[in-house]
Symmetry: C2
Subunit: 139 residues, 2 copies
């Protein structure tokens, strides 16, 4: 089980360390996206704040996780399920933030629609975040 995680690290030319295994494991078992603070709480004292920052940064650079721009401007991370390569992300899917439980979820199958921009604007990348109630929380 954690063999798969080790392999993922090796495949991306990263040293296999406790912190990395632990953090990656969290992502694999998390119901949604994770913020730095979430990881810090779950790891409670076992991993240094700084190590978490650095690990998240490395994971992002390697294309293992991607950041999610949420409406409240908090930084969240989630696993890249598409094929992301080092330094290049293909996470062009819509993200959903539940207003009740707060979970942030990648809607991997819903891709961000194109929009027609005014004259002169040259688009490069689009992000879309939808707020509302997730399937567990709608009443």
């Amino acid at each position: 089980m954690s063999e798969a995680i080790k392999d993922l690290l090796k495949k991306n030319h990263m040293s296999v360390t406790d912190s990395r295994l632990q953090i990656l494991d969290m992502f694999y078992h998390a119901p949604g996206a994770l913020a730095h603070a979430d990881i810090e709480k779950k790891a409670s004292d076992k991993i240094d704040r700084v190590t978490i920052y650095r690990t998240l940064q490395t994971f992002e650079e390697k294309g293992i996780i991607h950041t999610i721009p949420t409406a409240d401007n908090s930084v969240k991370y989630a696993l890249c399920k598409d094929r992301c390569e080092e330094g290049h992300h293909h996470d062009n899917h819509v993200h959903f933030v539940c207003d009740k439980c707060g979970k942030t979820i990648c809607l991997d199958d819903v891709h961000v629609p194109e929009v027609k921009l005014p004259k002169g604007f040259q688009p490069q990348q689009s992000n879309m975040v939808v707020n509302g109630f997730c399937s567990d929380c709608r009443s």
Copy 2:
């Protein structure tokens, strides 16, 4: 000229103060969205940091400005040009962030397209941010 700004404050049941006039004026003359830091710089020492935070918060609650969720998770604010009411925003337009000059621009005429969500998800609000080059910066 600043009469209009005063009226806007009065219309929203807010006291008319120097800080508020100054900050609102900045928004009316800014080329794009403003971050807390931008306002702090422009007001250089005349307005306390804390006052800026509180003013922005109040303006947002009153529906005068709205926050923009950018990809780099920095908080920016822009005037609500649509009719926003107290505690309820209708800023359903696309935002554009220029990768060169950094300007954040409200594309008031481009509204966020609807997307089809998986079963069970109940959308409430959608946000879309496009990165790229603005009309001034494309080469």
